[in-house]
């Protein structure tokens, strides 16, 4: 586990608890961008990402005592963020937001390829929206965040074996959409 399990997280959390505000800033700097991408992938609209990330950090810092370092801090943050997005979705009682309308289309030399890429991403997002919540979160923690199965299991309160099964099912369902 290398991409997500940053070695300094435990020390940074301990430093923050001891009164070092700089440690909190470093944690936000380290995990903010990935968290933003994750909550967007689980359904937050681009215009809401900042608020969701801010609220995720707030809730996480309020209960830092419950994070003991056995699971990945980023995975833990992602789970809190996903719960926030899910709660917001329930409040609105609407479909999962998978809009890409807020995104500015970049200038490219090959607009056709860009359109195809957009369509593929749209299909992927729609596919993710159609997955059961646990499959979606396991898949994103593994594929997007690079977490290993042990950390995924500890973060989501399941077993590594169950996490592998969820991932395998998610891959099977999504492969057809992306290919």
């Amino acid at each position: 586990m290398t991409a997500v399990e940053l070695p300094g997280d435990v020390e940074l959390v301990a430093a923050y608890r001891a009164g070092n505000d700089g440690a909190a800033t470093e944690l936000v700097r380290r995990h903010g961008p990935s968290l933003a991408r994750y909550v967007h992938a689980v359904g937050a609209a681009p215009s809401e990402v900042d608020d969701v990330v801010q609220e995720t950090f707030f809730r996480a810092f309020r209960r830092l005592d419950s994070w003991r370092g056995e699971s990945s801090l980023r995975g833990w943050l992602c789970t809190i963020g996903a719960n926030l997005v899910r709660d917001e979705f329930r409040k609105r009682r609407g479909r999962l937001v998978v809009s890409i309308e807020d995104r500015d289309l970049p200038d490219t030399a090959d607009p056709y390829a860009e359109v195809v890429a957009d369509e593929a991403e749209a299909r992927l997002r729609a596919g993710l929206g159609g997955l059961p919540r646990l499959q979606r979160e396991v898949f994103l923690l593994r594929a997007q965040q690079g977490c290993d199965y042990d950390h995924i299991a500890r973060t989501l309160g399941t077993t590594p074996g169950a996490a592998r099964v969820h991932y395998s099912h998610a891959v099977r369902r999504l492969k057809e959409l992306v290919s």
């Binding site: 903010g32 990402v49 594929a143 290993d148 891959v171």
Partner: protein, 180 residues
């Protein structure tokens, strides 16, 4: 573990750029459609949301976060103080109420010049079993009571005036019962 399973295990690390495919793994990818599809899916997912950028810089976000945490902690402290004050106030109110109730409890009546022990005794129901009187006639009982009620100056056990109507034997029986 099959070749496909081994590649699947390694895909997130290679997609993150922290590891590379070996020559054998690259060769497998070139020939295995299932692994190629999974790899494409992983790369697409890895890039998902790459255009999403936080509007606030991490420093600004952290400063906002810390300010909010401090505010909430202050509110928590105020709430705890108010709760503690309310708890002590409530206990004081209960104690005061109990004290008032105890101080205002009705006092039993006392005989003139009597002390607290006699008052307690006088207030309690007072019964003495006198089986010797069980067989006495009504007139005999009344005579005994009259003798007891008569002022001391008017009666004496010597002259027996108040007990004229009572047979001597009955009176002696009563006196013996009283004297034990």
């Amino acid at each position: 573990m099959s070749d496909c399973d081994r590649l699947s295990e390694r895909m997130p690390l290679v997609a993150a750029g922290s590891e590379e495919w070996s020559a054998a793994e690259s060769a497998h990818l070139a020939t295995c459609a299932a692994c190629r599809d999974e790899w494409k899916l992983l790369v697409a997912t890895r890039g998902l949301g790459s255009e999403v950028v936080l509007r606030a810089s991490p420093d600004v976000m952290a400063a906002t976060l810390l300010a909010r945490l401090r505010q909430v902690e202050q509110e928590d402290r105020r709430r705890r103080r108010a709760l503690a004050a309310g708890t002590w106030g409530g206990l004081a109110l209960v104690a005061t109420t109990l004290l008032v109730v105890m101080l205002r409890a009705p006092e039993p009546t006392t005989a003139a010049g009597g002390d607290s022990v006699q008052v307690a005794v006088a207030a309690a129901p007072f019964e003495i079993g006198l089986p010797e009187l069980d067989g006495a006639e009504r007139e005999e009982l009344q005579a005994v009571l009259d003798a007891l009620d008569a002022p001391l100056a008017e009666s004496t056990t010597l002259d027996g005036g108040a007990t004229d109507g009572v047979e001597t034997e009955d009176l002696e029986r009563v006196l013996r019962a009283w004297e034990g």
